[in-house]
């Protein structure tokens, strides 16, 4: 049981890291960034390039992948979503129209990655040795990913809870019109949240490159789906929800692999359906 508990938490922590950025983006901007997984892949590819071509320690490449994708996030928002935000008559219209932009972004990023790097899988295998925790052995890179997830989530929590900037973000998420009335530049907040979301996605992508080492331009969708499941379970726009949702999904999947592996996927989707039926706003979602 102990191995399931620890393994589930480690696995769930990685999932929480994957999901936190999408939840922040959607919570604040109401833009459901379906190209999130592709942005995550950019992080994987950056780690790969810096490791392969410059022999930089993969953990150090987290800095580069974070920086590059946060700037990319700003650019994507300014070039594509900003106009939508300004012209949309309602939040629903913004959500609807942004979906089409996201589909375009998915194809654009996939094809660009395929064009630049080819479609052969890439990877940056690192810290693959085992490490013992309470008598159970786990891969070192999954432990590092869990620690990174904890650190990122702690920083995010501090940012959202204890800074003016975080307050402005929460205000924009909860009451955008009111936020504007009291002088918050919601466009800037949107750009910032988009940028931070892309940054955390890239960190997750870099870790995935180290853990699984089987990244292609077309594997992004898997991570978008994982993040969406956690978003629905934890609650749209809820920071705590993405952590709890990630841990629940991670632990459930992990435990099911142990009990009856063939049921692991169905159980996750049953959980999702139950949540949508019983509590559609998710565990910690706003009304």
């Amino acid at each position: 049981m102990l191995d399931i508990a620890i393994g589930g938490v480690l696995f769930g922590a990685l999932y929480a890291l994957i999901a936190v950025g999408l939840n922040l983006q959607y919570g604040v901007t109401r833009i459901l960034n379906l190209a999130y997984g592709e942005i995550l892949l950019i992080g994987s590819y950056i780690t790969y390039i810096f490791f392969k071509d410059f022999r930089i320690n993969p953990l150090l490449t987290l800095i580069f992948s974070g920086l590059v994708t946060s700037v990319l996030g700003i650019l994507i928002h300014v070039i594509t979503f900003r106009r939508l935000v300004l012209s949309a008559a309602s939040a629903e219209e913004l959500e609807f129209r942004s979906l089409f932009v996201c589909f375009g972004l998915i194809l654009l990023i996939q094809n660009l990655l395929a064009h630049i790097f080819g479609v052969t899988p890439i990877g940056t295998p690192y810290l693959m040795e085992g490490v013992e925790i309470f008598g159970e052995r786990f891969k070192m890179n999954t432990v590092v990913a869990a620690i990174l997830s904890a650190v990122v989530n702690a920083i995010m929590y501090t940012l959202l809870r204890f800074t003016k900037f975080g307050l402005a973000m929460r205000a924009t998420a909860e009451e955008p019109v009111g936020a504007q009335i009291i002088g918050i530049n919601i466009l800037k907040i949107h750009i910032a949240s988009f940028s931070v979301g892309c940054l955390t996605a890239a960190l997750a992508g870099s870790m995935i490159s180290m853990i699984y080492s089987n990244v292609t331009p077309y594997t992004g969708t898997i991570y978008t789906v994982i993040a969406l499941i956690i978003l629905v379970l934890g609650g749209r726009g809820s920071f705590i929800g993405s952590i709890v949702g990630g841990l629940i999904i991670g632990c459930a999947y992990y435990a099911m692999i142990r009990v009856r592996a063939s049921l692991a996927d169905p159980v996750i989707y049953i959980l999702l359906i139950i949540m949508l039926l019983v509590r559609p706003r998710g565990l910690f979602g706003r009304q």
Binding site: D3, A114, G118, P121, M128, Y218, Y254, A261
Partner: protein, 443 residues
């Protein structure tokens, strides 16, 4: 009058002379026809300046990595024949350059079918190459039957498809890989050999895990059936989600059940092995499906060392070739390393076990054309009746079964080289099986 009468021939003599003349003429005609007659070449045939091959494959989308790794041979075989002056077409009595029309199905099965039909009906290609993956090939097989195009499928292995081929329901589809029922026999034979050589306990408890997809289900079921029949002690038979990356919980179960011989029917061994190594789980025998057999991937992006994978046996029914034992294959393997380097970007771009088989399968198609021309019915018949010279020696297709080859093996194992060694069957092996699997190297 009497002189005249004497000089004249009788009616009987006249008849005899005429019959003899007819016989001589007939014999001369037959001899000429058989030994001296050369039919007029190209008369009545449409003008031709090339042989066109049609290819639909997933150049983008989820299957494109597989296409890149497993299908470079389409272009290579065309290049190689063109370098020799092209493809000889007997009805024209000369060689023609081979060109190809290639479409990208974007990993969309409907698009693949539409484009295949376009190649046949609009582009009117002479020959077709198969798309990538079992599902896509199986879907396209109805078009091959409808339009009677003999096709050599590379990345394809289906029990259902094999049985249709055996019954003659799929006459134009030829597989290069063994079907799951053949793999079952090979694995059983190898384990029996190990049991015979190393003692009754050598194989011990057997665990079979498989992914929930056609490949895993069909192969696991075939192997299970074979092993159960001869009394191997199967203590675990369990499926797992397709392309899962998390194996630790399943490995805990394998440890609990004391699994000595592990068989993984799926494409996920690349993740499993990493986890098993981290956990220190090392079965005596590990047999895996496609995943760790491509050197350019295994020692490149996946980051394994030869010590990590030594002892791992590869089934998938891909008749491996003894790349190290035969001069033709040795040269081909070295060329492969140079040609495939661009694909993997590393120095390990050696062929995987079935690489030569894929290439030689395509050679058979071209050799059949050189023998019987571009009549597709004749090509189809030639493929099942004739042996063709390939880099694997003599090769012949058998509907619904792996092809017969001089140098074909069935099971291979990572040993001491960056190419797998053939370990089964005994008459084709390049090395003795390593038993037990060595322990994991220190990290």
């Amino acid at each position: 009058m009497s002189r005249l009468n004497n000089a004249a021939i009788t009616k009987l003599q006249a008849i005899i002379i005429i019959v003899v003349i007819i016989i001589i003429a007939a014999v001369a005609g037959i001899v000429y026809q058989l030994f001296f007659y050369r039919p007029p070449v190209g008369v009545g045939l449409p003008p031709r300046d090339k042989v066109v091959v049609g290819i639909v494959q997933s150049l983008s989308g989820a299957l494109s990595p597989q296409v890149t790794m497993y299908h470079p041979y389409y272009k290579w075989v065309i290049e190689d024949y063109n370098a020799k002056g092209g493809l000889y077409v007997p009805e024209y009595g000369r060689r023609f350059p081979i060109t190809y029309i290639e479409y990208d199905d974007e990993t969309d099965i409907h698009k693949m079918l539409t484009l295949t039909e376009k190649l046949i009906t609009v582009d009117k290609v002479d020959l077709l190459f198969a798309p990538c993956s079992t599902g896509f090939v199986y879907a396209a097989s109805s078009l091959y039957e409808k339009y009677r195009y003999p096709v050599i499928a590379l990345t394809y292995g289906s029990q259902a498809g094999a049985e249709k081929c055996r019954k003659g329901e799929l006459k134009y589809l030829f597989q290069t890989l063994a079907s799951p029922s053949e793999v079952g026999v090979e694995v059983r034979e190898l384990l029996e050999y190990i049991r015979g050589k190393y003692g009754a306990d050598a194989v011990g408890n057997v665990g079979i895990i498989y992914h929930l997809e056609q490949h895993g289900v069909e192969h696991a079921s075939a192997i299970f059936g074979e092993l159960a029949l001869v009394g191997f002690n199967i203590v675990l038979y369990e499926s797992y989600p397709f392309m899962t990356t998390e194996f630790k919980p399943l490995i805990s179960k394998l440890i609990e059940r004391k699994v000595d011989t592990l068989i993984i029917c799926g494409y996920e061994a690349m993740f499993f092995v990493r986890e098993a190594k981290a956990m220190g789980y090392n079965p005596k025998i590990m047999i895996v499906g496609p995943s760790l057999e491509v050197p350019g991937m295994t020692f490149g992006p996946l980051g394994y060392t030869l010590d990590d994978v030594r002892g791992i046996i590869f089934y998938d029914g891909w008749p491996s070739a003894s790349y190290t034992e035969n001069d033709v294959l040795k040269k081909w393997a070295e060329d492969h390393k140079v040609r495939a380097r661009a694909i993997f970007g590393n120095e390990y771009a050696y062929p995987f076990p079935a690489a030569a088989l894929f290439y030689s399968g395509l050679q058979c198609l071209f050799e059949a054309v050189q023998k019987v021309g571009l009549d597709r019915e004749k090509i189809r018949d030639a493929l099942v009746t004739e042996y063709f010279d390939t880099i694997l020696g003599k090769m012949k297709f058998r509907p619904g079964y792996a092809p017969e080859t001089t140098l074909g093996g069935t099971l291979s194992q990572w040993q001491y080289r960056y190419m797998m060694d053939t370990i089964w069957p005994p008459e084709a092996k390049s090395a003795e099986v390593i038993y037990p699997k060595p322990s994991w190297p220190p990290s």
